[in-house]
Symmetry: C2
């Protein structure tokens, strides 16, 4: 099958590598000539161009640009697509995509492959990036069932864990497990940074180890990722932040009131809850 990939970064490039291995002909578009060249050299695409007209031949197109340029890109793209072409995205927020991007193309399927590394760009692309990772699809009442089936048939051989849900359910779930952790972890770093006693701050630096390392990791990541979460998933993130703020207030109150029985119950519950949620 002829597959189009618009946006040759980590996700687009890795999709290209796997889909070519599976025997598809992969056509890539990037805004940068150099990225096109590197995508060919790295084997992520068969052909690449800075010109969206290359997508005329594609039967399924993966939209792999950052959310910030996705709407402008899709407007430029759709005049070049054949009427039967299926368009699917890989954006990490789905409500906004279904509201803003989907209306531009009737054969649109919202998607989110949940794989990644700390690196980004075509040089970070690698084979089998998606193996065992969730790949969420968010079809709505307007999504043609045959388009969903085509996307599924393409991605299932990547050995992903296919998940279907509503766009809003996806956004609230990723607010809990990804976007909220970034904000509370960044708040930890910001609060430490504000410590006015320089002796305490230097001592904290000398003593910090794995507990601080793990809890602060996602808060010290790429600011553009945090911005994307806040700008495109505002509602779900704010809902999680409010719930978190209230829970934190309960912890503070239990400690201030020295209500050790209540604190013990809470800590026992969080200890028991975590293994039901995630395995170390």
């Amino acid at each position: 099958m002829n597959i189009g990939i618009v946006g040759l970064g980590l996700i687009g490039g890795s999709l290209g590598l796997d889909l070519r291995t599976l025997g598809h002909r992969v056509l890539g578009v990037s805004r940068q000539v150099q990225t096109c060249e590197r995508a060919i050299v790295r084997g992520a695409v068969d052909e690449a161009s800075v010109d969206l007209r290359l997508m005329q031949q594609a039967e399924v197109v993966f939209l792999c640009t950052p959310l910030g340029v996705m709407e402008a890109t899709v407007k430029d793209l759709v005049p070049h697509l054949a009427a039967t072409t299926v368009l699917t995205d890989v954006g990490s927020v789905k409500g906004w995509v279904m509201r803003t991007i989907a209306p531009h193309w009737s054969n649109f399927v919202g998607g989110h492959p949940m794989a990644g590394t700390a690196e980004s760009g075509i040089e970070a692309a690698k084979p089998n990036l998606f193996v065992n990772c969730p790949y969420v699809l968010t079809p709505t009442a307007e999504t043609p069932a045959v388009a969903v089936q085509q996307v599924e048939a393409l991605i299932r051989p990547l050995r992903v864990r296919l998940v279907h849900c509503q766009p809003e359910e996806h956004d609230q779930a990723v607010a809990w497990i990804s976007h909220l952790p970034v904000m509370i972890s960044a708040s930890l770093l910001a609060a430490c940074q504000n410590e006015s006693d320089s002796k305490v701050l230097n001592l904290a630096k000398a003593l910090a180890s794995s507990g601080f390392r793990d809890t602060s990791r996602v808060g010290g990541g790429n600011p553009e990722l945090g911005m994307m979460m806040a700008q495109y998933n505002t509602e779900a993130l704010v809902r999680s932040l409010h719930a978190y703020r209230d829970t934190l207030a309960q912890f503070i109150s239990q400690i201030e009131q020295q209500d050790w029985e209540a604190l013990h119950t809470t800590l026992l519950q969080t200890q028991q809850f975590r293994p039901t949620f995630i395995k170390d």
Copy 2:
């Protein structure tokens, strides 16, 4: 030298293993006969007893019990000590120890070896646990200089990083890097647990990966550790919690107000701050 260790858990047992390797004679006391036997079998002590009179021969005694039984233990212990014996503890809170334990023995040196594993107890004890780890000593105006020197001479061969500071500085620093992270991480778990939409909660479980794993790790740990932090380091922990609550409120406000410039500045600062604090 004859070394005493009261409390044969992870820290006491590991100190015994290393100090015996260095040629000292190690005498251990535990409340449990079985722990005494295991400590001998594992090579953590030369002799062990449930009777504190064994400490009569010790020139330096490491107090390695949990904070919760430390005061009762030191009261029982001091009648058996020779007047020149140096007593030092390994408690993870130092203000409380210097106020509560130190007054029971003039030759007392507050200490905190900052090593550990997720495991506890004599079976978790292992050689070289303290290599490259900070070992904090908190001498005060009342602490005899010669006692500090004796403890230092004993622990320096364990290849620890010796750190001196005030007890209150220690407690505020560990509040930032250890005790606050536990509470904010536990709050994350508790907030998720309160999600009333079971479809969202199940989806969050299916999608959670490394970001959630790392941020929630210390909050899902042993409740007794969290209790110890809250009960014995209340003041410093509450101070950090208040500062954290205020920083979190700023994040929430920036997102609610869609003040993306301010949020971007903050996230850039936390990204730049983290590597000055801790290395991955």
